[in-house]
Symmetry: C2
């Protein structure tokens, strides 16, 4: 298995940044996107060998790897298309949840190994893509039955400066529900609460609030997709968060200064180590 | 009333930054701090005319204004000392909650007008102080009976580049419980929840999580003080946040994609305007 020609599906922030990063390392990049404006922008950068908004044209490019960088629902539809056409090209993806896409690929018996680059933030779109987005970032790869594909994917992601971590799909979705999906839900809910309670308070927010809620500016369709795709884990973590919050509220109601100082110290010390 | 000589009580991040900023504009700075190490560091910067760890010495400096920049409990003790000595020098403060310090100053009939600079973040200590911390930042001033002091304070804070906003103490404490104290409590609780649930997940956190939890690295004593000083507002806001969170959880359990997209869109659009 040789990977030289990479076909990127979806030229958003992640797909676009992979296009730049792999092109820089000598790969040949092809791309599929349904948005003609995005295709025109990407064409003007001169980094992509073949661009199209037609799946048939895309699948006729000489691809060694298909890299799906779409929101979850679109990614699952794309997997279905590939499955129905019995595409034999190796496939990977960049989705923030891993369980459902791996199950879909397995159902169609595709040559698939799933991944998740830990990079991106609240920005989106090809305009925000950057050749440096992934440098030093972790890339989670889910070891599948396709060990050769796993090791090739490990190799090419390390080549663009990423640190590859192997993890199974269930653990991945559990961990990221806690450290990524729950924080997004909390940030959405905080802004929602402020909008409901006292919208004019937003005039007085400082740098702390802005950093804290930066992720609340994320793409709505992508995040509604992520939340529902990982709903059991997220609901579990959100309910745990609420239960814990009620313990803090009790300490506050009791005026328990020493416990509050001790709990904030634990948290603050641990946070400063990140 | 002329303000030329400013006596800063507590040379932490805020007190130290005010020392730099006012010194740059030609004010003469005096300071009181109980920590000899801090006094030595401040002395080495050559910006402070007189430094001491003795209250009597401090009060004998030719002060036109006493600027209290201490955690709340220490600030309340300092107000008591000033009150018992019937100090007639004008006084202001930088506390994040306004109701209790204003009540204390009133009890002792001090010439007091409270303030709250919206700047700082999770850093603390004189080492982190900066002459630029307040440039462009808002400074909340609580209009008191001392109108002349209010207008003088407005003038000197504008001189160092701050935008002065007048607000009453109850409204201040209500607004900041929502946009500052609640977010801190949430950030503390999120880290606490991760520590309890799966501490090893912290290995996989990206830039989003780090920004989101930056405020959880704040000073424990200062924040336990703030939370308890503003407990009624904070408990009310935290309970409202939980109630709202339960609505999000319901939408997730119902697989309500369209409501989730619409709610996240509202939040995301509003956040991007900040």
């Amino acid at each position: 298995m040789k990977i030289k020609n990479i076909g990127i599906v979806g030229l958003g922030l992640i797909g676009g940044s992979f296009a730049y990063a792999f092109k820089d390392k000598g790969f040949v990049i092809y791309a599929y996107d349904i948005d003609k404006g995005t295709l025109a922008k990407a064409a003007s950068k001169g980094i992509i060998e073949g661009l199209t908004d037609e799946i048939d044209v895309f699948l006729n490019f000489p691809l060694d790897l298909i890299y799906i960088c779409l929101p979850i629902i679109d990614a699952l539809s794309f997997i279905k298309v590939l499955g129905e056409r019995k595409v034999a090209i190796p496939i990977t993806d960049s989705l923030s949840t891993k369980f459902s896409i791996i199950a879909a690929a397995k159902k169609y018996d595709l040559l698939f190994c799933g991944g998740h680059p830990i990079a991106g933030g609240e920005l989106s779109g090809f305009d925000k893509a950057s050749r440096d987005l992934f440098i030093g970032a972790k890339h989670i790869l889910v070891k599948s039955d396709n060990l050769l594909l796993f090791s090739k994917l490990k190799e090419i992601h390390e080549l663009i400066g990423m640190q590859v971590v192997e993890m199974n799909a269930s653990l991945h979705d559990d961990i990221f529900s806690l450290i990524s999906h729950l924080p997004h839900l909390i940030a959405f809910n905080l802004i929602d609460t402020v909008l409901t309670e006292n919208i004019s308070a937003l005039k007085y927010t400082g740098a702390g609030f802005k950093d804290f809620t930066r992720i609340a500016g994320s793409d709505p369709v992508m995040w509604a997709n992520i939340i529902l795709d990982n709903k059991d884990n997220i609901v579990e973590k959100a309910e745990m968060f609420i239960k814990n919050m009620e313990k803090w509220i009790s300490l506050i109601k009791e005026n328990n200064m020493s416990s509050l100082i001790s709990k904030i110290s634990d948290v603050s010390n641990r946070r400063r180590l990140l």
